[in-house]
């Protein structure tokens, strides 16, 4: 048992003296422009500003009342109880009861309103950020990891929320109480005040000693946590592979190493940060003892009354508590401001530029022209993904894009949906440069079936309806039938009302593609973009939906990427892509007669 208790002291230290020397400054990440951040939060508070001012007034009231309470008790003891004066004692106590009634009411009302204000503000911040995310270009999402964006949407906002909820009032009232107590104490007895204040420098140095260590340790702990979480996520989402390769025990070993590291850094981080309240207690108790002893001697000499000692012991507590709170809240508030700044920085990301509304109601015919289009995903990329591509497609034609993986087929599609802006050249729709066409006009008349079918966590019906929000149930079912999805949908537990889970585990990859085709069918677009829309569908089912696809493509300009010949065969035009260039274009017949790349691909069955 003794060993057991000795164990915690046996952790090897993980911070060296050198480590500490390096980190003298910058405890918490600071917002570079906290004034700007605060003024933006102030803007979000919006019409509740008036209420917020009332809350602040209430904080002033409650801080004053909580100072008044002990003061009055001191007076009651000195003037009435020790003097045995009963006239007016009842009145004083009655007065004190009134003070406490108002204290409770003002405390409750301030938090009641503050919670409302805070949550409403957070609601605005959250929805504002979400709305802005919808407006950002696709390239924004390419550059950032989901995890990072998720953490801004959740952790950072949660931090701001907590700060607004409680820290805001706490900081404000701490400052008020601190100032108030000091003033009252000075008025009562400068000497005892000096005694009480002796703890402040100790507190400062102790806190500095601790935070210097914890800031480093917390960072290290954060890394250990991130490392472990990453591993957990990967193992769990790749469970099938772990099992198939019988790697459970190795995974457990790796996990143990990472988990042990977290235990070690966690131990030190927790221990050092756990010192803070203990130091606070020590200072609290010491100042209490000092006030009692020094106050006692002074009272003995007659320069201080017993009531004043009572007031001071209580004030000494009231004095260290806000200091403690401030120290605690300081980091919270700073990191919340930093978090808010990160959130705002996303909201400052330029939204997708959009054309003026002049062509708003334009009905697309579907003529598509590329004029010397060059495109790079990153401006620094040396070789462009699309290099000087020019072509013209008449409305209503079907174009098949063929070429090896990485030739730029999908990119052409993405440019047509205007997920990205071209670097050089222009894309014209019906002779109108794409940038003069509002996104709404373009996309509302374009349907895109993506390589990776994505389904939302809602009912099958709602997922299909995504293509056209005002579609009737009949239209949905028709589309599902055409896409050959109806039969399997009917076999799901609740048919069209089955809620698909986030992982979409209930249905196969091919079935997901069928649903996303049904979704496109419902949309009824002028331009249709099919990016490997049927790659996971078996050819028999594909044959069955071929009819639907043909029907869908009829009269619409369609761009199709497919590896399968029978899909390509239906095309009016074939574009052969190679390393970002359009190397051959023309009708099937022309290309075959030309005996060029396409011909070679066909004869080697390389499509």
């Amino acid at each position: 048992m003794l060993n057991f208790i000795r164990k915690p002291f046996g952790y090897e230290p993980i911070l060296t003296k050198e480590d500490l020397k390096k980190s003298t400054k910058k405890k918490v990440e600071k917002a570079s422009d906290w004034k700007g951040v605060l003024s933006r939060i102030w803007k979000l508070v919006d019409e509740q500003r008036f209420l917020l001012i009332i809350v602040l007034l209430l904080v002033v009231v409650s801080s004053a009342l909580s100072l008044l309470g002990p003061y009055m008790i001191g007076i009651i003891i000195d003037k009435y109880i020790t003097q045995s004066v009963f006239v007016g004692l009842a009145k004083m106590i009655g007065l004190l009861v009134i003070v406490y009634v108002f204290l409770s009411i003002s405390l409750y009302m301030q938090s009641y309103w503050m919670i409302g204000i805070a949550q409403q503000t957070i609601y605005r911040l959250r929805t504002g950020l979400f709305e802005h995310l919808q407006k950002l270009p696709v390239s924004f999402f390419d550059k950032r990891q989901h995890g990072e964006l998720m953490s801004r949407m959740t952790n950072d906002i949660e931090n701001v929320s907590q700060t607004l909820n409680s820290s805001f009032i706490q900081v404000f009232s701490s400052v008020l109480t601190l100032v108030g107590t000091t003033v009252v104490m000075l008025l009562l007895s400068p000497l005892l005040t000096a005694v009480t204040l002796t703890i402040v420098p100790f507190m400062y140095f102790a806190m500095r000693w601790i935070t210097k260590r914890t800031s480093k340790l917390f960072k290290e702990q954060q890394q250990a946590v991130g490392d472990l979480n990453g591993m957990i996520e990967e193992t769990i989402s790749g469970q099938r592979i772990v099992k198939a390769f019988s790697q459970e025990s190795r995974m457990l070993e790796e996990f143990t190493v990472k988990s042990e590291r977290l235990k070690r850094t966690g131990f030190w981080a927790l221990t050092y940060s756990g010192f803070i309240p203990k130091v606070m207690n020590l200072l609290n108790n010491t100042s209490f003892a000092l006030v009692a002893a020094v106050g006692g001697v002074l009272a003995y000499k007659g320069s201080v009354t017993i009531g004043e000692i009572v007031i001071f012991t209580e004030y000494a507590r009231q004095f260290t508590r806000p200091l403690n709170d401030l120290a605690n809240q300081f980091n919270t508030v700073l990191s919340a401001i930093a978090g808010a700044e990160r959130v705002f920085s996303i909201m400052d990301e330029p939204a997708e530029v959009d054309a003026a509304n002049e062509n708003k109601d334009y009905q697309l015919k579907g003529n598509v022209t590329f004029e010397h289009v060059t495109f790079r995903y990153n401006k620094e990329d040396e070789t462009p993904t699309i290099q000087d591509v020019s072509f013209h497609v008449e409305a209503g034609k079907i174009v098949a894009l063929v070429g090896a993986t990485g030739a730029g087929k999908t990119t052409i599609m993405q440019l047509l949906a205007r997920f990205y802006e071209v670097n050089e050249g222009t894309i014209l729709i019906d002779g109108i440069p794409m940038e003069n066409l509002p996104r709404f006009t373009l996309r509302s008349q374009t349907a895109f079936v993506l390589q990776d079918p994505f389904l939302f966590e809602m009912t099958v019906k709602e997922n299909i309806r995504y293509g056209k929000l005002n579609a009737t149930d009949e239209q949905l079912i028709d589309a599902a039938k055409q896409a050959n999805a109806h039969d399997f949908i009917m076999k799901l537990p609740d048919g069209y009302d089955t809620i698909l889970s986030a992982d979409g585990g209930e249905i196969s990859q091919g079935q997901k593609q069928l649903l996303s085709i049904a979704r496109a069918l419902v949309a009824d677009p002028a331009i249709l973009l099919l990016d490997e829309a049927t790659s996971s569908i078996d050819t028999v089912t594909e044959l069955k939906i071929q009819e639907a696809l043909e029907y869908l493509m009829e009269g619409r300009t369609s761009f199709v990427i497919a590896h399968r010949l029978n899909t390509v065969r239906k095309a009016d035009l074939v574009f052969v892509m190679e390393q970002g260039k359009l190397i051959e274009a023309g009708s099937q017949k022309d290309l075959l007669e030309k005996q060029g790349t396409y011909y070679k691909m066909l004869t080697n069955s390389k499509i």
């Binding site: 108790n285 349907a447 995504y466 929000l469 790659s535």
Partner: protein
Amino acid sequence: MKTVFSFLSPYKWLVVTALFFMLIELSVELIQPLLIKIIIDDGIVAGDQQTILFWGSIMLGLSLLAFIAGIINTFIASHAVQSYGFDIRQALFKKVQSFTMATFIKFPTASLITRLTNDVTMTQNVIFMGLRIMLRAPLIVVGSIIMAFFVQPYLALFLVISAPFLVIFLYIMSRKGMTLFGKVQRSVDRVTRKIQENLQAVRLIKAYLRGNYESNRFSTVAATLKTDNVKAFRIMEFILPVLLFVMNVSLMAVLWFGAKEMQTGDVQIGELVAIVNYAMRMTGAFSMFSFIIIFFSRAKASADRMEEVLLEEDGIEEIDGNSHITAPNSGEIEFRHVSFHYPTTDIPVLKDVSFTIKSGSKLAIMGATGSGKSTLLNLIPRFFDATKGEILVDGVNVKEWQLMELRKVIGLVPQQSILFTGSIEENLRFGDSTVDGELLKEAAKQAQIHHSIEQFPDQYNTRVGQKGVNLSGGQKQRLSIARALVRKPTILLLDDSTSALDVSTENALWQALEDEKSTMLVITQKIRTAKGADQILLLEEGKVSAYGTHAQLLESSSLYKEIAKSQQEGDDYVELHS
């Protein structure tokens, strides 16, 4: 809750010691008002400076004692908590690893991850608090009352009167708080899921112009979260003012009756001051309650979630304990009247499937989307067990083989390629870390990925990002094939794993796999691939619709003919047109 906290029991001595040191701290705090009383009554009032200084320095000494106790408590508590966290993480991870796939799919992936990460931290925090503060608040209340009785029983009565009322009040509030915060947590989860979904589907949402629609849907969940939060926090914030008020009123009563009693001389002024001091300490302790309740209710939700995993009794894989120790070596596979449905539904996925594959031969599995092809493959490494019939490997029922030994001889390439963070080499070595470099390269060459790897800046040391974000779909598939080949598997299972490859690469791949001696089961959509197989199994709605060679099936199966027709080869096509 119980199971989770039982993980603390190996550390019960630590817990006891930590609590002991906390009690020392607490006693010091509780003695202080008593000492004040002595200083006032025996020192100031009696006019004895010696007494004042003596007890004053005792108080200082006690503060130091409390501090030392507090520091020791911190060490011990944090050791206990970290050890607990380590143990429970280990237990959870082990448990999850031992789940059968049938159990595994019962839990959504995201929720399993939360259980292993945030939930553990949440309970750790509560235990740490518990060892240091949480018990402190109630103990201060009880201790203050006891001490008050010790100092002046009559006045102490006024502190006690309010106690039952406050306890009931706190009980009701905490019940309410628990439910409300449970609700908040669910709303938070919904908001998180919504965001996640949106990040994944950026292109789709943009393509269909659903930005506003999504914003509206998000506003609804965000609004629910707002209302839930407001409700929960407002209830919590109600606690403090009420507690303060009740305590302060009792304090007034103490003053009033104390003053009366002092007249008769039954109560000393120092005693009165001490009682007032105790009352104020109680008030301070009570104000911590709402905080504790919030914390505790969150921890309870976490503990319950972890418990679901820990208490999962069924569906644990038996890693060993079966009779056949040696690994299967011929790779002959037989399905005998196999039927299967997933544990979550009654809808059969496979119905009475029978076939045999000779050692070293190649079976192509074809069939419509959702006809049960992938499920069939999953039954061989026993991710799921057949509901009816039996599956034999080397003439032995798969259930008889030792699971590890069975899986060791299988190379699986799933439909969606799953890669792990680490270098390409580490990924290829995933199945066997001892494989030598030559073999690795050989497998990579077979999988047609060697050339691509050579072109990466760091070649085989190139880092694979999380889930392989920095690789194209085709590269991921080929790596995942190479990974399976590295094991030199007796049985190779390919689940439509060439869909992202262009035709020439795919042809080269199949050519390279020709020399493989393993028994191969290949799910494919392509007649061209099927043609190269020794046997073809055509599934239709979970039943075997046709079984035989390409030539046989062209004769006998109309469905197969239809598929073949839909995929006429390029050569025929060129003839048609020229």
